[in-house]
Amino acid sequence: MLPEFDLLKPSVLEEALEMLSVGEKAQPIAGGTNLIVDMRSGKLRPPVLVDIGGLHELCCIREKAGVLSIGGAVTIAELVDDPMIERHAPILRQMARSFANTLIRNRATIGGNLVNAAPCCDTAPALLILDAEVELQSATDTRRIPLADFLVGAFETARAANEILTCVRVPIPPPSARTAFEKMGLRKISCMAKVDVAVRVDVDDSESVTNARVAVGAASAVALRVPEAEAALVGGSLTAESAVPASQGLTGEQRLGKGIEKAVRLVGEAVEPRPGSEYKRQVVRGIARRLLSSLLRRDLRANGSQEDPSQGRSPSGFREGGAS
């Protein structure tokens, strides 16, 4: 039995924002896949719920001026199916396909997943490497903040009680960007993440890495980027004849090989020390190495470089394969 509450059903966003602006008691509900579980367990007892799931203002995916804007109440299933997502941000589709199962994906929303801010929330790492920002709207104000600033801690965000996460804004990556995502849980599918890793490298015409993003989820209180690992990847080159001048006696190709190993080590350090974290550290490193290899290393191998086997030990039981 769920605790008692009043349910308000606004028909437009403006009405919903008004309902939330009366005191701090009202809470938005969309898919309810987290909220209803937390209410049933007694963890949450909101006296008033405002149903924002069906508000048409929150249900669109649009592309304008190089930015994908994904409404807060867009479901995870829609991320799987939407052709614009597939074209401009395929990593979101990949993430969405690893998210719970169809029955949940048909209800759970991107906004709800971010606002709930579970450490293992799958949407965050994928969105972090896309430099996403969230738009928060109240009855009187609209603000946009980077996702990294929105996620404050475990189950804690920068959202004020009277605000709705109206949309997630994703700058469309350039065609040179390559992305990959992998999730590891207790089952292959339909599970919560033990670890999420998302990586992105932008490779220019001369095959040099100009920009990199690495994000890890479920390894700390909040999903986060690992800027030191990103920096280690930039400047490496996929070709032997690099346009990037050799520094410290290394070619661009050698720098990339070293950069990947350094990034892999640093990503592991992002795992928060807790019981079991040594295992997660190994897993994160194994996944990061595999993802970065799938994006970069194949070209390297074609040029005759070899991975140092002593550095490449992955925890046993990992499935081998590419990033997709």
Partner: protein, 197 residues
């Protein structure tokens, strides 16, 4: 707490009921007599309560009845009857994809959601599509076989609309026809009014 009238169109039949706001769609459906929708975990883990809500397969335990106001809902029993079972229900019975039957209505819903989009799924795709539905009796093997059988029959009937499903089924399957009705009883269980609703 607010109570309001909710309109639910279930398996084509319109109901108007006054419900407290904390009533889930699962409870509302069972109280209306749609007891083929099972109450398993009530936290979205087991899929026994799965229904189609405006065409999308969802866990009805995680939907507030008021959120479904005006929606069209299809339950397992809405897909077929004892006299005229849906090919998926028939294939589940023929493949022995049922033991206690409690998970079956949800399995059938997830199977239909899969086959509507992907008429010829691989085993991996079937396993993924059913990953939100838990069965505590079987090892899932016969359920996967049931989905495959349903897919084969639906593809066959789609490619040759003139031949009926009965004509399309093989001789070895014909021998199983006799106990099919018994098995379907487990799918369309009307006898559990006393359980956890």
């Amino acid at each position: 707490m607010s109570s309001r009238t909710v309109a639910l169109i279930v398996n084509g039949k319109r109901h108007e009921v006054t419900l407290a706001s904390n009533t889930t769609l699962l409870t509302a459906l069972r109280d209306l007599g749609y007891t083929d929708v099972k109450n398993g975990c009530e936290i979205g883990e087991c899929g026994a309560c799965a229904v189609f809500l405006n065409g999308e397969a969802v866990n009805s335990c995680m939907v507030l009845a008021h959120q479904a106001d005006g929606a069209e809902i299809v339950t397992n029993a809405g897909l077929g009857t004892m006299q005229d079972p849906h090919p998926i229900q028939e294939a589940f019975a023929d493949a022995g994809a049922i033991q206690c039957g409690f998970c079956t209505p949800g399995m059938v819903i997830s199977t239909k959601a899969l086959l509507d989009r992907n008429p010829n799924p691989t085993e991996a795709e079937i396993r993924e599509a059913l990953s939100g539905n838990l069965c505590r009796c079987t090892g899932y093997g016969q359920i996967i076989a049931g989905v495959r059988l349903a897919a084969e029959r639906l593809l066959q009937s789609a490619s040759s609309p003139a031949s009926s499903l009965a004509e399309g089924s093989s001789a070895s399957e014909a021998g199983r026809e006799a106990d099919r009705d018994d098995r379907l009883l487990a799918v369309d269980d009307e006898t559990d009014e006393g359980d956890r609703s």
